[in-house]
Amino acid sequence: MHILVGLHAGLGEIGALAALWVLVELLNASEASLRRARIAALVAVIFFIGSWFAGGYNYLTDYATAVKPLIKSGPLPWAHLVITETKEHVFLFLPFLSIIQLALLTRFNKEILVDQNFRKAATYIAILAVLLALAMVGMGVLISSGFRAALEALIL
């Protein structure tokens, strides 16, 4: 269970860092920075999809049988009933956002340098991807805290 959670979190956090890298490269766009942004965007797509699979597999197996029942019967049931329920659905936005990011940077790689609208569009997506990824990290911490609180209530 720990490996799956670690894999899910690790892949997601690398994706989040890659999304942040895209944003940073867009703030001072040049041909070289856009080339790096495209690489970072591809990394974000790959790692968010990897996180999707790892998290999904964990959610459908260990989380469903061992973690969810404990959280729901523990002192912080909202960790599942609100946070996990939100996270499992809002997370689905992220891979598509990262694909759009990559598509914009690839399709309009020359236009972004000369057209403010394209640069703004790419930047808005980058900001959104970073904020959403960070929200996922925060929610993951809350869910883990809910699980830990439930375990502590059992043994303390």
């Binding site: 939100t86 694909i99 569009a121 808005y124």
Partner: protein
């Protein structure tokens, strides 16, 4: 493709709430893919790919793309808040 993503965002919001309020819809999703969440993931991917293919030759004017991205931005924020609010409301109502 940006429009496809916006449609998928709202599709996820609608499927999320429908799953909570309709046992038959939840059962339909479960039968489709073994678990309602897996079905939502697969449907999202399918709809995104289908719409992206259908809309692939749409105009690529920079103003229109900025407008589409802004709509996507607002949709993600609003959609996320709707989902979050729904589950908070459900939790408090119990």
């Amino acid at each position: 493709m940006v429009v496809s993503a916006t449609v998928v965002v709202w599709l996820i919001v609608v499927m999320t709430i429908l799953t909570e309020i309709s046992a038959s819809f939840k059962e339909f999703l479960t039968q489709l893919a073994g678990h309602h969440w897996t079905a939502k993931s697969l449907i999202s991917v399918f709809v995104f790919m289908l719409l992206s293919l259908i809309l692939k030759n749409s105009l690529e004017d920079s103003g229109a793309i900025l407008k589409s991205v802004t709509t996507l931005f607002v949709s993600v924020v609003l959609g996320g808040l709707i989902i979050f609010s729904y589950f908070i409301w459900g939790f408090l109502a119990e």
